[in-house]
């Protein structure tokens, strides 16, 4: 019996409808693999709640944006799908002011701001609407550090989260993404995704776990500032304390963790 993930999900779905969906037979194993044997890596970066500040004054040239985008998309094996804009997969990308901050555009807004592309990503909201709607808890807010995570194994591709996210931060794999990943630049230490799952920025949880800053922050040459928003001495808090900042669509109450300064 050969079955891929999609077929498995289809059969699981049908049998649930038919009332055959059983209780998972996998309980514990914890008798051997005890929870106490599990620990975070000693050099992992820790925070109460991670946040990022995007310093737009440091994005001057096309290259400044691209460097960050490429760094992110390359370490995470994000496919480069260009033939259909609906099929595009984006973790970190450029957005016009009116799209990034709708409702705030003013008729007499300076030309510079009007045409400045803003770097956008998932806001890792403190009150994420995507998490509230996910029926399988495939997307969830991590208790330890507030990252809004994806467990690709659990995503059934219903796309409720995409409808719920007011920032368009999520992309759906309408087709098998693997052929669209540059084979030569593939990161063999990170998985790819499959057709039928939703993906987005995960704030480089896998790099934080090994003590590294997010890939975009590392590539940004100081234009992206990353740190613990609940630590008054962190880099992000220092910038936010010193300069005027704003967030995307604060009126919605999602409480984004990504801040912008210009």
């Amino acid at each position: 019996m050969s079955m891929n993930r999609r077929e498995f999900l289809k059969i699981a779905g049908i049998s649930t409808i038919l009332g055959l969906g059983g209780v998972s037979a996998v309980h514990g194993l914890r008798n051997r693999v005890e929870a106490s044997q599990i620990s975070p890596a000693p050099k992992a970066l820790k925070a109460k709640r991670w946040a990022m500040v995007v310093d737009m004054s440091k994005f001057k040239k096309e290259e400044d944006y691209q460097r960050c985008i490429d760094a992110c998309h390359q370490v995470h094996n994000v496919p480069n799908i260009t033939d259909n804009p609906k099929h595009e997969i984006k973790w970190l990308w450029k957005e016009t002011y009116e799209h990034a901050f709708p409702g705030t555009e003013d008729e007499y807004l300076s030309e510079e701001i009007k045409h400045l592309p803003f770097l956008v990503l998932c806001n890792h909201c403190d009150n994420p609407s995507c998490v509230r709607v996910c029926p399988t808890k495939a997307t969830f807010k991590r208790k330890s550090d507030g990252i809004v995570m994806m467990d690709m194994h659990r995503c059934i591709g219903c796309r409720f989260c995409m409808a719920a996210c007011p920032y368009g931060a999520r992309s759906f794999n309408y087709k098998d993404p693997i052929p669209f990943i540059n084979e030569a630049k593939k990161n063999l230490e990170f998985p790819t995704r499959t057709k039928g799952v939703v993906e987005k920025c995960t704030l480089c949880y896998e790099r934080l776990a090994t003590g590294l800053q997010p890939a975009c922050v590392e590539a940004s040459k100081g234009a992206l500032i990353f740190g613990d928003i609940e630590d008054p001495n962190s880099g992000v808090r220092k910038v936010l304390g010193a300069r005027y900042s704003f967030r995307r669509r604060p009126e919605l109450g999602t409480r984004p963790s990504v801040y912008y300064i210009i």
């Binding site: 019996m1 050969s2 051997r32 599990i38 975070p40 890596a41 995704r193």
Partner: protein, 134 residues
């Protein structure tokens, strides 16, 4: 006997259908799986270091459940280090820990999975190690 002929024909067809798979395979049995653990990465280790995270019998029976637990601990709880029963510590990662030693997916994973006709979907996303054709 009512409809005797029909019943007998029915029985013959039934027996035929039931025994067909056995007759078709000619009574041959598939060769027993023989997963190999002689990858260059494993052979590089000192003899007494050539041990999996947990004992062989346990891994054989429970590795799938263990991988499920590993996933939840890493993805959901952010804990990445597993302390094995023998006290050694490992990073919980299929792609970066298991497959670093077991770099022979065809001879290690597929061998048994094919025999038992299971097709786990790990490899739909996780990148399998590049195998040197031998």
């Amino acid at each position: 006997m009512y409809n005797g002929g029909k019943i007998i024909i029915g029985v013959i067809i039934f027996v035929g259908l039931v025994t067909f798979p056995f007759l078709y395979s000619g009574g041959k049995t598939t060769a027993k799986p023989d997963p190999k653990v002689d990858t260059p990465e494993i052979l590089k280790l000192a003899e007494n270091e050539r041990k999996c995270v947990e004992p062989k019998a346990y891994m054989k029976g429970e590795h799938m459940k263990m991988l499920n637990e590993w996933r939840d601990w890493v993805v959901r709880d952010g804990n990445t280090i597993y302390t094995a029963t023998n006290g050694k510590q490992y990073t919980m990662s299929l792609q970066n820990t298991c497959m670093k030693c077991h770099s022979n997916k065809k001879k290690f994973c597929d061998e048994c999975h094919n025999y038992t006709a299971v097709k786990p979907y790990c490899w739909d996303c996780h990148i399998e190690p590049k195998e040197k054709e031998s």
